[in-house]
Amino acid sequence: MSQPSAPFNDGLSLSRRKFMAGTVSAAAAAPLLASRAEAATPVTAEPKLRQPVVTSLRINKQAYELSLDTRTSLLDALRDHIGLTGTKKGCDHGQCGACTVLVEGKRLLSCLSFAVMNDGKDIMTVEGLASSDGRLHPMQQAFIDHDAFQCGYCTPGQIMSAIGCVNEGHAESENDIREYMSGNICRCAAYPNIVAAILQAREETKGA
């Protein structure tokens, strides 16, 4: 017990740096599939590790070309590199849902996805929902109407998730909504209001 705990070295004798280097060199196309054995192979690609990778993202219908550390999550790319801070970091572990965005129309936890994995993809964040004349998306308006938030921090994730939930066809009953929205934690606990908001905006969202 003489070392600080770190998620990438507990029991593996392997630093995050080496883990990432190993995976990038071994399986660039599917970095998260690298096995422990592969990851533990001697590191040869280390000098390349921190060389930025040019990544193209289409965010809210606008094209961005970014030079990013391969370790940068999509969430951090949005917040720190593009300045779209509407998408929130609540845990960085895919456990709270605050960072939910739509990628190719499907909801995705942006903290669990490296930005480079989304090269060429179409991404929608909360900033892209309202129309250019300021008219809110029906889901945004419904969240206001039903007071579906208090502090508002989880709200962008809740709204993106709600739109995804409707489009998946998982908002057909209140029970379904409760179940399929349970990946988005609201610590202020506006849950009944969130369900009411989704019911209100459901039909309009399907057509949006």
């Binding site: 017990m1 070392q3 720190d80 969240f143 938030f149 508002g152 409760r178 179940e179 606990a189 369900v195």
Partner: protein, 759 residues
């Protein structure tokens, strides 16, 4: 009608949507870590992996080799800065980098600063400490704890309340119970991560950090950094959930400020969810011993409540909920005692209704046990023990609508359909149970300042250094100005969350609405007085009328006679473009030092059990239906009804939402929430949102909040009782009581989990 916007009843304000709602649904509400800051460097914390001992060596070479690393702040680097102080403003007296002593697991040992977040994280994880480790004491029953009396250890807990001769009354009681209860460690876990962003412009320091106390932090941070408080600005325009966790400032703030100074550029440190468990505060575990004696008629004659609370070695954090439980019912005699149990842990801190959540849980569970022992309906048992005055000091309640709360909640819930027999109610494979409990929370108020400006164009600018933590305080402050100045809410801009604004007290203790609205009321009334005086002055448009005959509505001053004058014209006649008033509100009973203390960030609280004339509390009654699967013992809460009376309700929408959130917190406390402590290492085990369970959408079904009308002019000028912490006080006991009703198993140790019911 929309459930989110209850129709206002007597003494209740309109359910206006939140004034910042649009910002929140469009991603434009900027929380402190969102505020744009140029040329930023990223900080990441390294924390201790032991709970007790000393750091003998810190190996930084690997961390320093990380490309992009800019600096490491560690031992020696904080020597020119004063240590933190423990108190209302400071979370702990532990200065983690002032001293190589480790007081608890997860204590800060260094801050790595780098060009990117990724590099900072990488470097922080490569920092290696060597320790001279001692065996730590984790919690109750661990070897090495020290138990001390709590009374007098905190300014907020002066004495163990008592009344009459408990021992004699208990000995004589015909019916009695003697039981022990416990509540676990809990962490607030607001969804916004804790963060500090600091930058210096010359000698001026600005800190962006989610805070419930910008004025207090300004003063405390200046003290630590040995600079003039006027050189420090704390900015916190939106706070992503707080629940007490962002009340006291933690040692991280000064460390990041020092890093920014050393580097000469802005530094942002966002604490990981895991690190927050050890670097922030939490609700400590508690134990309770309760004895109640009563006559066969159900009248209580004796009540004893002993509590034990864990705290850290250096800081005596006390909640002492016996102040409330000892005054709840007409007990006859009361005996209480609170003890602190010191262990090798980080210092606990305020978490939503800090004293009441654990202590009232124990009391209300015991009240249900007592009702069972008496063979009495639990609602009736509480009704016949309603006090005319509180039993300790025999002072009256400024208002107490608990009976009305029970009546209305019981009616809405359908309590009459409850079969009192244990295990008698079933629905297929589900055992059905119904339980109830009382909620209580002290009504306090503190000094507060506000600036209000009414312009000739009819716009209002309201400034107050309070904090929008999700309560809706921005909205209700605007609503108060709207009402008093006759201006629609759309024309009012409300600025909060900045220590450069007029000071407000810490947003804790459910005091914000009462304190802020009382200050806004005072500022608006000063504006009204000027307007009315000008209008009624000789040659004015309403000359000859008296001030008290005027009202403001729709941009006009309207006299009783029906005559009116446009505010715009009165301002023009006064030859001013705006009237601006700076008001300082001090509650009744405030000391001569009260306003000075407000500016110093140490505001006085008044109310609760502290006033001479009366005791001031808000009350509620909560009813819960549980369903327990007869095979798996899965526990569900399909239905919950709460009725609450809290004086004037400024906005029924935001009030209902807060109470609803509180009730759901209570369900979490009953069934989900517990930070598991590894007794070997005094370490929190489930340090993330996967394993620290909180209620999710699927846990909540039918929830009803009833706002019971109540008028109380004694509490404060606004007539408002706080309700942000009231909602979660009774819930856990109501759930436990319903579980007993369904199963016959009495659970006294929270949280209630399936395994406890597999008997």
């Amino acid at each position: 009608m929309d459930a989110a916007a209850p129709r206002p009843k007597e003494n209740q304000g309109e359910p206006l949507p939140r004034v910042d709602a649009r910002l929140k649904v469009t991603g434009q509400a900027h929380y402190p870590a969102d505020l744009p800051t140029a040329n930023i460097a990223y900080g990441a914390l390294a924390t201790s992996s032991i709970a007790k001992g000393k750091v003998t060596k810190l190996r930084l070479d690997d961390a320093r080799a990380v490309p992009g690393l800019l600096d490491i702040v560690t031992y020696g680097d904080m020597d020119k800065v004063d240590k933190p102080k423990f108190g209302n403003t400071g979370a702990t007296s532990i200065g983690p980098l002032h001293d190589r002593t480790i007081f608890h697991d997860g204590q800060i040992i260094a801050l790595a600063v780098a060009e990117t977040f990724e590099a900072a994280e990488e470097a922080a994880q490569l920092i290696r400490a060597e320790y001279d480790e001692e065996k730590p004491t984790a919690t109750f029953d661990s070897p090495g704890t020290a138990t001390i009396p709590a009374a007098g250890k905190s300014p907020l807990f002066k004495e163990d309340v008592k009344a009459g001769d408990f021992d004699a009354a208990y000995a004589d009681a015909a019916v009695k119970i003697d039981q022990r209860y416990s509540t676990p460690t809990q962490h607030h876990n607001p969804i916004e991560l804790f963060s500090t962003t600091a930058f210096w412009e010359g000698e001026q320091l600005t800190v962006h950090e989610p805070s419930q106390n910008v004025t207090g932090w300004k003063v405390e941070l200046a003290r630590q950094l040995k600079i003039d408080p006027g050189k420090v600005r704390i900015v916190s325009p939106f706070i992503g959930g707080a629940f007490g966790s962002k009340g006291p400032m933690t040692p991280r703030t000064a460390i990041v400020a020092v890093a920014a100074k050393r580097l000469g550029r802005p530094v942002r440190c966002v604490t990981s969810r895991m690190q927050a468990f050890g670097t922030q505060t939490y609700r400590a575990e508690t134990r309770h011993h309760i004895r109640i004696g009563a006559g066969k008629d159900g009248r209580i004659t004796a009540f004893a409540h002993e509590g034990w609370e864990v705290t850290s070695r250096p800081d005596a954090y006390v909640v002492g909920g016996t102040s409330a439980t000892g005054r709840m019912y007409d007990y006859g005699s009361v005996l209480t005692h609170v003890s602190l149990v010191q262990a090798d842990r980080n210092t606990p801190g305020y978490m939503r209704s800090p004293p009441e959540t654990p202590y009232v849980y124990a009391l209300e569970n015991a009240m249900d046990e007592m009702a069972v022992a008496l063979g009495m309906d639990p609602v009736e048992f509480r009704r016949i023990n309603e006090p005319k005055a509180e039993p300790i000091g025999k002072k009256p309640f400024s208002s107490r609508s608990l009976t009305q709360c029970y009546d209305q909640a019981a009616d809405a819930f359908g309590w009459v359909r409850r079969d009192p027999k244990v295990g008698a109610m079933r629905d297929g494979d589900w055992l059905v149970g119904m339980g109830c409990a009382t909620a209580i929370y002290p009504t306090a108020v503190a000094p507060c300042a506000a600036r209000v400006r009414l312009t000739v164009d009819g716009d209002v600018r309201l400034q107050c250094g309070s904090h929008e933590i999700g309560t809706g305080v921005r909205t209700v402050a605007g609503q108060m100005a709207s009402e008093r100045l006759g201006v629609s809410i759309e024309r009012i801009s409300v600025e909060m969350g900045d220590s450069s604004l007029p000071p407000a007290p810490v947003s804790g203790g459910s005091i914000s609405t009462a304190s802020v609205c009382s200050a806004v009321l005072k500022a608006c009334d000063a504006i009204r007085a000027k307007l009315f005086a000008a209008a009624s002055a000789e040659g004015g448009p309403l000359a000859g009328s008296h001030n008290e005959e005027f009202e403001l509505a729709g941009g006009k001053i309207v006299a009783n006679s029906g005559a009116s004058a446009k505010v715009e014209d009165v301002l023009k006649a006064m030859q001013v473009g705006a009237i601006e008033e700076y008001a300082e509100f001090a509650p009744k009973g405030a000391t001569p030092e009260a306003l000075k203390k407000l500016y110093a960030g140490t505001p006085e609280f008044h109310g609760g059990d502290q006033d001479e004339d009366s005791v001031k509390y808000a009350f509620g009654a909560e009813f819960v239906e549980v369903r327990i699967n007869r095979y798996t013992r899965e526990i569900r809460v399909p239905r919950i009804v709460g009725a609450f009376a809290a004086g004037r309700i400024m906005n029924t929408r935001t009030a209902r939402s807060q109470l609803m959130g509180g009730m759901i917190w209570g369900i979490g406390q009953a069934l989900h929430e517990a930070t598991e402590v590894d007794r070997r290492y005094a370490r929190y085990v489930n340090r993330d949102l996967q394993d620290y369970l909180v209620p999710v959408n699927a846990d909540i079904k039918d929830l009803q909040v009833i706002l019971v009308p109540e008028v109380d002019h004694a509490v404060n000028p606004a007539g408002v009782k706080g309700l942000g912490e009231l909602g979660n006080v009774g819930t856990a006991a109501a759930v436990a009581n319903a579980v007993y009703h369904a199963t016959g198993t009495r659970i006294r140790d929270l949280p209630i989990r399936i395994e406890q019911l597999l008997v």
